[in-house]
């Protein structure tokens, strides 16, 4: 087990850093706030990423990717974060849909869908959760009914990030009545009649999520991923990728901790023993998180994520929350910003605090992750 950068990682880190320094200034900053405008900005960025060969980093080379190990992916995510790179608008396309298509799709799926994701031409969203099926995803009710050479989809989905700008969705719908066995995984065209999207405003004032209403929306047979009724198995693979993204992705704990220490110094509270004890505790936990991530990456190599990825999320969530809350405490009333206010600068800790609360719920709640660890890592009875 080795926790620092390997020679390959160090070299890759230096290469990415140099590239980012040269490339980021060429973008038409600032990054727009509105999603539609940000899409234009994102496409410019993604084409640069693609030209440089960093698109689809985790994807095998035969599909236009780089076949990078999870270690290199984590390095890339860290460097993007460090340099303040643009929002990865198509994270679902590249991270979840693309990976699942590569693993389970036909040759036709791969040639149709993968390249437009890499080039940033087609944006993807995820239609999994429903109002009545959150933690209990297998309880989903959205119906797929046979119609000619395809299916008609009717139901309601929720917590759909970026549904407004998505061209395609990974969709779970019920083709028969039995819980896990009756679910089919579709690659679903969003731009059609029968798809109604309603933004859901959050307590932050943002409308990151949407409700999506499907009424007799059509999806042809060739857009079924895997076999009819085999959707649950594929969905678990997708959710595994989601946990990896959450545990190793843009939420860069090291960076946040560095900023926290800056804040402690600036606030002149670094002499306070209570403050020092808390910083030391958080620093220690961040180190454990990093080492744990490195260990998981060493063990996994380039394989698909297993239930162990739940441990990373379980450890990360309270850590992120504690860092944000401590920073808010140190920053006093100035750090607490009103809804709708700029969540950058002083307000960034408020944003992180909200994100941390959300992280304990999104992608499988803390309680669901604990069940996964108990049942699938420890082998305890269900």
């Amino acid at each position: 087990m080795f926790f620092g950068d390997t020679e390959e990682e160090a070299q890759f880190r230096a290469e990415v850093r140099t590239w980012l320094e040269a490339t980021l200034p060429t973008l038409p900053w600032p990054e727009p706030a509105g999603l539609e405008d940000r899409l234009v900005f994102f496409r410019q960025w993604q084409s640069l990423v693609h030209e440089a060969g960093y698109a689809g980093l985790s994807w095998p080379a035969e599909y236009g990717g780089r076949g990078a190990s999870l270690g290199l992916q984590a390095v890339f995510a860290e460097e993007l974060d460090r340099a303040g790179a643009p929002d990865r608008v198509n994270g679902i396309g590249e991270g979840f849909a693309g990976m699942t298509i590569i693993e389970h799709g036909t040759d036709a799926h791969k040639s149709r869908f993968l390249a437009p994701i890499l080039r940033g031409e087609e944006i993807w969203c995820q239609l999994f959760s429903e109002p009545g099926a959150g933690s209990d995803l297998a309880g989903l009710q959205c119906r797929a009914e046979r119609d000619g050479d395809g299916y008609r989809i009717t139901g309601q989905k929720v917590w759909t990030s970026r549904g407004q700008i998505a061209d395609w969705a990974i969709l779970l719908a019920r083709t028969s009545g039995k819980r896990h066995d009756g679910i089919t995984y579709f690659l679903f065209p969003m731009k059609q009649e029968g798809v109604t999207i309603r933004p859901l405003t959050q307590i932050t004032g943002d409308a990151e999520f949407n409700e999506v209403f499907l009424e007799n929306a059509f999806v042809p047979d060739e857009c079924i991923l895997g076999r009819v009724g085999d959707g649950w198995r594929l969905a678990k693979a997708t959710l595994g990728y989601e946990r990896v993204v959450i545990a190793t992705g843009r939420m860069n704990i090291q960076k946040w901790l560095g900023e926290l220490m800056e804040l402690v110094r600036e606030s002149g509270q670094g002499e306070d023993p209570a403050v020092r004890a808390r910083v030391a505790d958080l620093w220690g936990r961040a180190l454990v998180h990093r080492l744990n991530g490195a260990r998981a990456l060493t063990q996994l190599g380039t394989g698909a994520p297993g239930p162990e990825s739940s441990v990373g999320k379980l450890f990360m969530t309270p850590l992120a929350s504690d860092i944000a809350d401590f920073a808010l405490e140190l920053g006093g009333l100035d750090a607490r910003v009103a809804p709708g206010a700029e969540m950058q600068g002083d307000g960034r800790w408020q944003r992180m605090s909200y994100m941390a609360r959300g992280m304990a719920i999104a992608g499988g709640t803390t309680q669901i992750q604990k069940n996964i660890v108990a049942e699938r890592v420890l082998g305890l009875p269900r």
Partner: protein, 364 residues
């Protein structure tokens, strides 16, 4: 609890459940709920604890705080406590008139210069709750000869609007040499100090936190009993049931800490230690309770259309207002150290004792 207080709370509860539903609270964000204010003002709630001679209700400070706690359980978007317990208190103790309408109070950042017969106010009053709509601001200002109380309209200064995490107005008012009319200023009463006002503000927020946690707990228990996943209510899962138990414990702790401080006030003591403990404990509870309430509600609790955030965002905001846990814990610690080792046991266990000596560093 006295019968009188019971009756008062009963009336207030009925009034607020009628007039202060989630729609009213939601709509009030960024605007002033004038209709709601008229209802509570007509019932005499804002000035409940102000002397009857000054137009108030003559209730005790503890009565008014329990009203504020109850109003917070409805997330009532009004400066109820600020008007009577802070501004009204400043004005009446100085013998100044208490006007109708919402009032704001400021006790730091402003100075007064007395020059012949003129009284001139300068400085910055930071983050005044509902400063923009206050009919008057009661300012405790430092002068060459001690503290003075001035009653001034916000429009006499420059108002910089702002708000807290919950979207409640927190406006700063800058006074650039504002001349105060003769009947609108007076020497502050001897018992009126910045430290005492800090304590009142802190206990007000602690009481509100306790009220909001109580309501959030109720919402969360109901939701966990109704929300079905895996074919049963999520409350049936032990993991969720245990979260609810922890939430109930936070609710109990916050309320007990506040009750202890109220009892000290009822007994005629200043309750300095109890207030510090109440703000620290209620503040801790605010963080844990909001976290559990959100976790149990899942994603739906994070949406604007759900009412949970009316309570939880207030918890996050109130936790830091009028002194964070760190500030009050330090004050309490300094007092315990000053009182000495032998006094510590009494300080913790004897709730009928007279007030501990005020440490020199405790008023900062």
């Amino acid at each position: 609890m006295s019968d009188h207080r019971h009756l008062l709370l009963d009336t207030v509860g009925r009034m607020l459940s009628e007039c202060c539903g989630p729609d009213v609270v939601g709509a009030a964000e960024g605007s002033w709920p004038a209709d709601l204010w008229r209802v509570v003002e007509a019932a005499g709630l804002p000035l409940a604890a102000v002397d009857e001679a000054a137009g108030g209700g003559g209730a005790t400070v503890a009565d008014a705080l329990t009203v504020a706690r109850l109003a917070a359980s409805y997330a009532a978007p009004l400066p109820l406590g600020e008007t009577g317990l802070l501004a009204g208190h400043l004005l009446t103790t100085a013998g100044l008139a208490v006007p109708s309408g919402p009032l704001a109070a400021a006790w730091t950042g402003v100075e007064v210069r007395l020059d012949g017969g003129r009284c001139v106010l300068s400085g910055r009053a930071d983050r005044l709750p509902w400063g923009r709509v206050a009919s008057r601001i009661a300012v405790l200002a430092e002068g060459a000869d001690g503290l003075h109380v001035c009653s001034v309209e916000p429009s006499a200064g420059t108002v910089e609007v702002g708000s807290n995490v919950a979207g409640e107005p927190r406006d700063s008012v800058v006074f650039h040499g504002v001349e105060i009319a003769a009947g609108d200023h007076a020497r502050a009463a001897a018992e009126v100090t910045r430290a005492a006002l800090d304590g009142r503000g802190a206990l007000l927020r602690a009481a509100q936190i306790a009220g909001a946690i109580t309501a959030a707990t109720r919402l969360t228990v109901i939701y966990a009993g109704e929300r079905q996943q895996f074919g049963r209510p999520i409350a049936k899962f032990q993991a969720v049931g245990q979260q609810l138990a922890l939430l109930a414990a936070e609710e109990a702790a916050a309320n007990a800490a506040v009750e202890l401080a109220l009892a000290a006030l009822d007994a005629g003591r200043d309750g300095v230690d109890e207030i510090a403990a109440a703000k620290v404990r209620a503040g801790e509870a605010a963080g844990s309770a909001a976290e559990i309430a959100h976790q149990v509600h899942g994603a739906i609790g994070f949406t604007r259309e759900h009412r949970l955030h009316h309570l939880t965002r207030r918890l996050w905001a109130w936790r830091d207002e009028y002194g964070s846990e760190a500030i009050w814990a330090r004050r309490l610690g300094e007092r315990a150290l000053t009182a000495g080792g032998n006094a510590t046991w009494t300080m913790i266990t004897d709730t009928s004792r007279s007030a501990a000596p005020v440490a020199s560093g405790a008023t900062t």
